[in-house]
Homo-oligomer: 187 residues x 2
Amino acid sequence: MPRDGRIVRERLQRSALELFTEHGYDGATAGQIAAHAGVTERTFFRHFPDKREVLFASEEELREVLSGALAAVPPELEALPTLRRAFHDVVPLLERNRPLAELRAPVIRAAPALRERESAKATALVTLVAEALEKRGVSARSALLCARVGMDAFSTAIRRWMTEPSPDLHAEVDEAFEELRALTGAL
Amino acid sequence: MPRDGRIVRERLQRSALELFTEHGYDGATAGQIAAHAGVTERTFFRHFPDKREVLFASEEELREVLSGALAAVPPELEALPTLRRAFHDVVPLLERNRPLAELRAPVIRAAPALRERESAKATALVTLVAEALEKRGVSARSALLCARVGMDAFSTAIRRWMTEPSPDLHAEVDEAFEELRALTGAL
């Protein structure tokens, strides 16, 4: 997307989050979001298929960055170390998106339909990770369990980073994987 | 519930699954399910608040049995061994419910609203497990990650048992936990 397009897109995301935060998700229309961002409703719909998707606009970027990061991990790494390495490569994107993510979280939590969309997004990410692991030679039978466990660690790290006074997502990723290892050490 | 009530309830569950399998979830009403089971629509609604919940009737029983199993694990066991032990105690319930579960899975898969309800049920089970771990002294910060990872192993075991020619859910539970240990051994 050209730079101007990206600026408009991000302005629309921010406007949507500001209006949803103030009036609730049902309290702002696509037209009002566009007006708040200083563009036409037609421009809004050039960027997003509907009002809901403005909240999930960063999903595609996350999928692309994560896919690229997984493909770039040296082939000799084992499955969970592969995921840990790839998650570290996604950290800069999450750091850049954090201001919007902080506004976004309570909006999602407040609306069941948005929580369901968020949950479907998480499931799709697990599938993406499992498929990447299979491409690296992990058996189809094991790839899904490994992807789930890795994403558990990553989402735990992100949750702590967002909710605790935690400045460093890299450190949280390492700590969550360390906890995984400690937990299973008792088996 | 008295024995007669349980028989009627299970007959309604089976009737619902038979009709949903044949006509789709939207192709059968509560009244038709009741008629198929040889009872009145009023009896249906004495057992289930709506048509959807007939598909999730075993959820409450699963929650009760799992809670009891978690509470019965000797306190000296570590977190993941606690979960493994409790999951083994739930196996007889799942074995008993397997014929209905086999009819149920494709019905759930076919309808987005049912998949969402199923996903909410899984989230609620993770919360139940995390709270049980906290009661056993696992820190609130770690309990959720541990609960998620344990439930990943359990749901992996159940999925394999349901979809592969696998006669023994106990063996699948042990194998999934063994895989967890092997996966994290590479960290």
